[in-house]
Amino acid sequence: MSTQSDRSGTYVRELLSLSKESWLGYAFLAPVVVIMGVIIGYPILEGILMSFQERSMLQPDNWTWVRFENYSQLVNDEVFRTALWNSAVLTGVAVAFQYLLGLGLALLLMQKVPGIQIFRSLTMVTWVLPVIVIVIIFNWLVQPGYGAVNIIFERLGLPTTYWFADTRWAMPLVILMHVWKNVPFFAIALYAAMQSIPRDLYEAAQMDGASSLQQFRYITLPNISYVSMIMIVLHVLFTFNNFDFVWLSTGGGPLQTTEVLPTYIYREAFETYALGYAASVGVVMMVIMVTFTTIYIKLEDFN
């Protein structure tokens, strides 16, 4: 039992002695494992290999090993550093706003006012929209001369411009689109978590004279912390990984002020055709995502 060979022997015996039931369990699972393996698992491994190669999108079979050359090139690549920084800012700011606004909306949805059901049922509408439609909506709103935002700004005597082309405003607008889409998902998930908190906890607290702020701090927040963690980790991954919002709205511009890692990878691979280099950026991205998730989940385990 204690030595390594004993243990692997146990595994073999275990596999051989598996019941018909267990094999059926494997059979039910097999299609998912095969599909995920072929479409995600194998490409990831090949992607990692590619990052050590010089390889072009135009001739993918014609490649040479360059070892760490792509990575050493990354260190001095200013666009890469910009994209890394922008990705971090976009993810951090967008998820922070999504969580805070989502939490606020969840608290409102808990209130028992007449007609609240209508609000609850309308909440998820922005979350289900295609990103391209969201980009079109915001693009239309900020058109110079005839977009609603600029018409209103003009009436109020505020400056008007095509905000997506403004180096100061392009990133805030991209963040705004993320927040607009995802606040409802945060709100509904947190609302569902709040609903599962037993009512008598609040009643007992009220008896003891706890203010509603204290009830929120000592009952609501601890009880939604697990859901909060899941939602924050998931949305950090979604936002960090997201390609469409930036690509379809600004394309990374103006002057790379909105360039993020996914758009940079896409550009390097499918426009510059530098497949190996693009893959090395992808590997850096992957390392960041895996590290973030691992640290976060570890931290949460300790608490």
Partner: protein, 306 residues
Amino acid sequence: MATQTDSTQSNDADGTIDGLIRRFDRHLGNDMSIRKAATVYGLLFGYYTFLLVPIVWLMLSSFLTTSGLYSGELIPSIDEYTIANYERVLGDGLFQQYFLNSVIVAVATTLLTLVVAIPAAYSVSRFEYPGRDYVILGLISSQMLPLVLVLLPLFTIMFRLNLVDSLLGLVIGHTVGALPFAVWLLKGFFDGIPEALDDAAMMDGCNRIQIMYKIIVPLSIPGIAVSAFYAFIASWNDYLFVSILSQSSGTRTLPMGLQLFQTANQVDWGAVTAAAVVTMVPVLLLFAFVQSWLVEGLSNTGTKGS
């Protein structure tokens, strides 16, 4: 409760503002006063203005004539409204083709996702075998991988399998995107069904496959509906896979179809807004069907505390 109602009855009858407020307060229940309700409504109004006005604005704009669109007026006069944009968009042969492609790919993705995900979720929910936890972990951690990195080699693989520029290639790609969430969501639902039901059915001579289709599936319709909806919108809304795997109008879907009405220098805003509305309406209609199950579905997944 009853005595309290009786004692305040006389006060309400005088019809003064105070009496009205008291009557409302009683209607609202113990932990709500009209002042608090007003604050809640005010904040809700703010939130839903932020969330819904942009969508309504898009819909209104799609019904405007060219002069109405570019008038620089917030509220163009009533005779500026027209359905000409929709006639132009829906009459466009390429747009029709993209719409049809979107329907085929999204429906096929939904079916394939369900066919593969239901047995898998049943397997991880009910069966005991070595390595089960690793499968769940693997599915969840596939969310941690950069999609763009996957796409680079995937393009080469699809090319070798002759799946570039084919609808099947898109369906497979989209299914992979929807699978982890679908399995996870369905596992949550299946876990909630008492295993005693399985045992009882087995006594009656049902095998595992029969149990799955006769007992588990009918009892988890809300979960299946939400998974189906998720797979559908993941496919319908996808731009990244389509932009790389589709090379011709025979396989392009609506997110790319929206670019039909814009060139580098000019955007036909009437057509673009109308096409955007046509793209989002199917999603919103399906959403209307599943929205009551969506909250349940979300609270059933890992968010409950594994």
